[in-house]
Symmetry: C2
């Protein structure tokens, strides 16, 4: 399974593509960020994010998409932009008929490091370890996007195993 | 000038198209809502909003777009969806190269009724009066979208007059 993770943001929108199945070594297919200039009109920034993400989807043809679930209790000024960037990511995925899953930051941290309170550096270090990289992807938004993709592969498989076990019981 | 106003929302996204210039009677070209079912996946809802708005843009070819500016201090549960629906509206407009203006609810209320604290019914009544309609457009989201378009025509013209006056002074 190839999963494209998106850490949404207006200034830097992280993208990480990871391939594999839980229980086997995962492979990093690509990682990076889509950037938009802060002085540009909001509607144009969203358009640049769309264009940038379209290129990632086109180049890597993922089977599923994992986007960070945005909460409004965080920084009030940035959260609206984050929500809007996440909408663009979901839209690009939906247009291609791809399943979109939302994972909270704590779910990602817990899946990848065993603790929902892990800090940025711990998550980045675990991303490097899981993907057998010499060092974590940079910037942090790129590492977070890869972490989202890893989380999705691991959680998805756990959910599939659970569904299979329930089906067997019947 | 033909302006398409959008009152963003996931369940009901209001759309109102108004034509004219400030100081002259304005005409309602079209008004309605794009609806999406609440039990549908968020990414699919955003896609339905995109498709629905595309139809409005295609049918009415506006010169400019006015979208309600979303604030995060409001209802925490609904504000994220509103922000995401507004992102889709801005994106559809930007893709067509149209200018997008954001107006706050108080700016719209003040422009149309003279008071930033006007209630929904007052705004709807003023929309009907300004557009010379027998009764306000329904539902409220449709009337709000028309109010946004009216506000944009009136504010835009005031801003243009100001810019012209400044240019004349020099």
């Amino acid at each position: 399974m190839r999963v494209l993770g998106v850490d949404p943001g207006l200034t830097r929108c992280g993208v990480g593509v990871v391939e594999g199945t839980a229980g086997r070594p995962l492979t990093l297919v690509g990682v990076g960020v889509v950037r938009t200039p802060a002085d540009l009109d909001l509607s144009r920034r969203l358009l640049l994010i769309e264009t940038g993400l379209e290129e990632w989807f086109e180049a890597h043809r993922p089977d599923a998409v994992a986007v960070e679930r945005v909460f409004s209790q965080h920084n009030v000024r940035t959260v609206m932009g984050t929500a809007q960037a996440s909408a663009v990511a979901m839209l690009v995925a939906a247009r291609r008929g791809l399943p979109v899953a939302l994972h909270t930051p704590s779910e990602v941290k817990a899946a990848i490091s065993g603790s929902g309170r892990a800090d940025k550096d711990q998550v980045a270090a675990m991303v490097a370890r899981v993907l057998r990289l010499a060092e974590p992807p940079k910037p942090a938004d790129a590492a977070d996007a890869a972490a989202l993709a890893i989380c999705h592969i691991w959680r998805g498989t756990a959910q599939n195993r659970l569904a299979a076990a329930i089906a067997k019981q019947r």
